[in-house]
Amino acid sequence: MTTIFHFAVDFAQMCFALAMVCATIRLITGPSAQDRVLAFDSLYISGMLTLLMLGIRSGSTAYFDMALLIALFGFVGTMALAKFLLRGEVIEP
């Protein structure tokens, strides 16, 4: 059973890495700016999930804190980019 579980962790990690590749392709080719922001959003969520996979693999909780930080900063970054697309500036007077 443990070998199957190892295989499942490998499989999921590969899936998230491929998802990051897809998001990167969209980030580079994306015709409009909002496509790129959406791709960035998807990219950091996949990266966070990959870190959680590493956490399961190693059994340490340090990866969990990193995942939480990626979620926090990714959210702030996407918010700032979307706000910029909407209003032309991030922090309004």
């Binding site: 579980f5 999921a12 897809c22 998807s42």
Partner: protein, 116 residues
Amino acid sequence: MSDLPLWATLPATVLLVAGGLFALTGALGLLRLPDFFSRMHGPSMGNTIGCGCVLIASMLTASAVTGRLAIHEPLITLFIVVSSPVTSMLLMRAARYRDRARNAVRPGRAPESTDD
């Protein structure tokens, strides 16, 4: 994770495979769907079911490793649930605003995906 008990590994295996497949399908949707508003729906799959499956699996294995109930994983779930609607609504509004502005600048083009 040398030898985890069966009650943790069996559901965790199923959840990890399902979550990985759903997140990958969502990212493929980001690539394959035809226009921006359709592509919005792709990553939301990874946000909901991908994160949910992985976090439950992580809770199961962490509880099995430490021998007590791991309860801090729901924090990420809570944060994703609170933050992803904000991001998505703001992006949606930005996209509609930019579509409208572009159609106003170049009136010769047929208006696409605006309904007002």
